[in-house]
């Protein structure tokens, strides 16, 4: 076996940090190995990939020192965010950018562009297609195509599917498995269900950037099982273990015979510009129900939430707690909304102020406010960060803050747009548990999600969307059964 990449006694420190991120860190990777690197956020997994490819310190200036360093001659790097790894607006131009860098003569470019697109299973009528119009999964596969154009010996993948829906995730991993067979592949990922068959070596890091375990996958998984749970890694049996450990009972809707209907839609349409984008014939949500809105990308799930939030033009009947929505002046009094990207929701400069914001708007007493905010800070584990700017929090903390700030007024209805997106298992369960508590107290939850496990273990009802229409309303258990039957037959 020949070594393709290795580090000996590497030390690295980010400016502004008190301690070294890596200290006397050594690692060696052989040609053809498929390596999975696991570790909690902040353990330096992405940084490690960048060091192994020489991006640090060549492109990203970070003080780094190593006794010995082997970097492969050719490598490719696939990043997390599909929107920030292209520099050209069109598909053909993007691959051509790589070919230009490699000084491939113009005459050969068209052939190569076709070839690499075909390798990742992308087939366009015209390669001159706008990247902006592609779905997230297609963008990631295009990114793989342009990485392949480098003809790399080693592929580095930094959570390439963290921002994709399940279908996109599946296709991207299939593509990676196809093209990566002959190559050395290093993967950083916390949703390991899809990759676990593909890799043969697993490296486990702790939060101080030290290697806790390094070896064949089965051995690491067996010996460090508790670490996986502790670090919130999405290992294949995580849901089953969670349910077992918590002695979980699938929630049942609480008796709501005497209560008002929370949301009632009838012949309800929404428009984007002048174009009808959504139609709901009839749908109801009651207090104590947890409704998951499911459907493919572009089926109109987020549009439904925006429409119910009065953010886009609508027509038809829409009652909130038996009041016509047009008569309600401040919808935010009744409904709270949690967006996909928590950052866009922050309007103040500190965690404390963020949670207190809507309470200030409703002119509560100063004392009641501080009591309530402190209570929320405690529930959402944000006490230590009271004075921190929301942007300086970690991804999981930001998400918790956005949920806390939205529901602080205890509005009777909560809308959520994929709140568990890109979160590790630990954070996901924490958020879900808190929502479940609210539901049990009678809050109505309507949540867009791709995660069938949430449907299975938390939802009471499912709204299925397809092509801008609400096509089916069923109980969560029925929905799961239908799916399972479909898989069997």
């Amino acid at each position: 076996m020949t070594t393709i990449a290795s580090l000996t006694n590497m030390r690295l420190k980010f400016s502004g940090m008190d301690s070294l991120l890596f200290e006397d860190f050594s690692l060696s990777i052989d040609k053809g190995e498929k390596v999975l690197i696991l570790g909690p956020s902040g353990s330096g997994k992405s940084t490690l990939l960048q060091v192994l490819t020489g991006l640090i310190p060549n492109a990203v200036e970070v003080p780094m020192k190593a006794d010995a360093l082997i970097i492969p001659e050719s490598w490719g790097f696939l990043f997390q965010d599909p929107d920030s790894q292209f520099c050209m607006p069109y598909v053909d131009e993007e691959i051509a950018f790589v070919l230009e860098n490699l000084q491939i003569p113009r005459e050969k470019m068209d052939h190569f562009i076709d070839y690499y697109l075909q390798q990742v299973g992308l087939d366009f009528a015209d390669n001159h297609t706008k990247i902006q119009r592609l779905s997230g999964g297609m963008k990631q596969r295009l990114a793989i195509a342009s990485v392949l154009a480098l003809e790399p010996e080693m592929l580095c993948l930094d959570e390439p599917t963290a921002m994709l829906d399940p279908e996109g995730t599946k296709l991207v991993w299939e593509t990676i498995k196809n093209v990566g067979e002959e190559k050395t592949v290093i993967i950083v990922e916390h949703k390991i269900e899809q990759v676990v068959d593909f890799v043969d070596r697993v490296i486990l890091l702790d939060e101080n950037g030290r290697i806790i375990a390094d070896g064949p996958k089965q051995k690491v998984f067996d010996q460090h099982y508790h670490m996986l749970i502790e670090q919130g890694i999405w290992y294949p049996r995580v849901w089953e273990d969670y349910v077992q450990e918590k002695d979980w009972h699938i929630p049942t809707p609480i008796n709501t015979a005497n209560e008002k209907t929370a949301v009632h839609l009838s012949d309800f349409s929404a428009f984007r510009g002048k174009i009808p984008a959504l139609h709901v014939e009839e749908a109801c949500a009651h207090p104590g129900e947890w409704i998951t809105v499911v459907g493919k990308n572009g089926a109109g799930k987020s549009t439904l939430l925006l429409a119910m939030m009065n953010l886009i033009k609508t027509s038809g009947t829409y009652y909130i707690l038996e009041q016509n929505h047009k008569r309600i002046k401040h919808l935010a009094e009744y409904v709270s909304f949690v967006f996909q990207n928590p950052e866009f929701q922050f309007v103040t400069n500190s965690v404390y102020e963020e949670i207190a914001f809507s309470l200030h708007l409703t002119k509560w007493e100063q004392e009641t406010i501080s009591q309530r905010v402190n209570q929320m800070l405690k529930i959402y584990h944000l006490e230590e960060h009271k004075q921190t700017h929301p942007y300086q929090l970690s991804m999981g903390q930001k998400r918790r803050l956005s949920v806390a700030a939205s529901i602080v007024k205890e509005q009777p209805i909560i809308f959520l747009d994929e709140p568990t997106f890109g979160q590790d298992a630990k954070n996901t369960f924490a958020i879900l548990e808190q929502l479940e508590q609210l539901r049990a107290q009678g809050t109505t939850i309507i949540m867009v999600t791709h995660d069938l496990n949430i449907v299975k273990y938390f939802a009471t009802k499912v709204w299925e969307m397809d092509n801008g229409k609400l096509v089916k309303e069923s109980s969560a258990s029925n929905y799961i059964e239908t799916l399972q039957r479909a898989v069997i037959s």
């Binding site: 965010d81 929107d83 920030s84 790894q85 520099c87 003569p105 113009r106 902006q132 939030m309 866009f344």
Partner: protein, 267 residues
Amino acid sequence: MPMDFSYKETWLHKINPSLKLLLMVLLFIHLLIIHNTNILINYMIGMLILYLFFTGHPWKRLLVISIPFLLIFLTSSTSMIFFGKGEITWAEWGLVHITEESFFRGLHLGFRGIIFAVLGIVFALTTRPVFLFYSLMQQLKLKPKYAYSFMAAIRLIPLMIEEMQTLHYALKVRGVHEEKGVKGFYNKLKSYSIPLLSQSIRRAYRIAVAMEAKRFSHPVNRTYFYRLGFSGFDVIFLCYLLVMIPLSYIIANHFPYFSITDVRYNK
């Protein structure tokens, strides 16, 4: 929110972008030394022909874009008409003092403003940024470092527009009421610009790293996916200008609209 900005390709699109840019700059400079309103009007007609018939964009879009032209015309001309110096008084109300000289100078400024705007917009409507930068690299030896950075930055604009929409929704959902006045504007500016900027800075940084990961800074002799040279369309454009400009002078001399041939004061 998908943005449709489709257009038909015309000969103006096929002109070499570097040449087009250079000619536009020369025209800008030339415009500054025309002081005869008659010439300027003819000149404007020549440019409007390009704008209205040869940009390949639909009529509706062209009309919408021309609304600000009118604004430019009105603001730049009226201030000169009302407050400019002159001897032959036409009307006077307090500070406002309209004279024959200031009237024509105002008109002249207004027309010049329109021509500047038309030239700029014709260039923008008929030039794909990607071609412009490829051409700048090939004809004017612009360093790839700068050219590709600009192209990557242009990609960020539609993403930012989308983010702004989301941000607008989010603020509404949080119950942020729009305040009026200067303070409201300041608060609005702050609540939009900081998240948008922080997101863009992070994006830009990531794109830069991604470009490096694609070996951007290595090559000495880049090859180019688009090779831009010169063609017959460049000649057509040059000829158009070479006919249009002398013609404006000749027509202005033989069939003037106004008797004033120099709008400058004291000349």
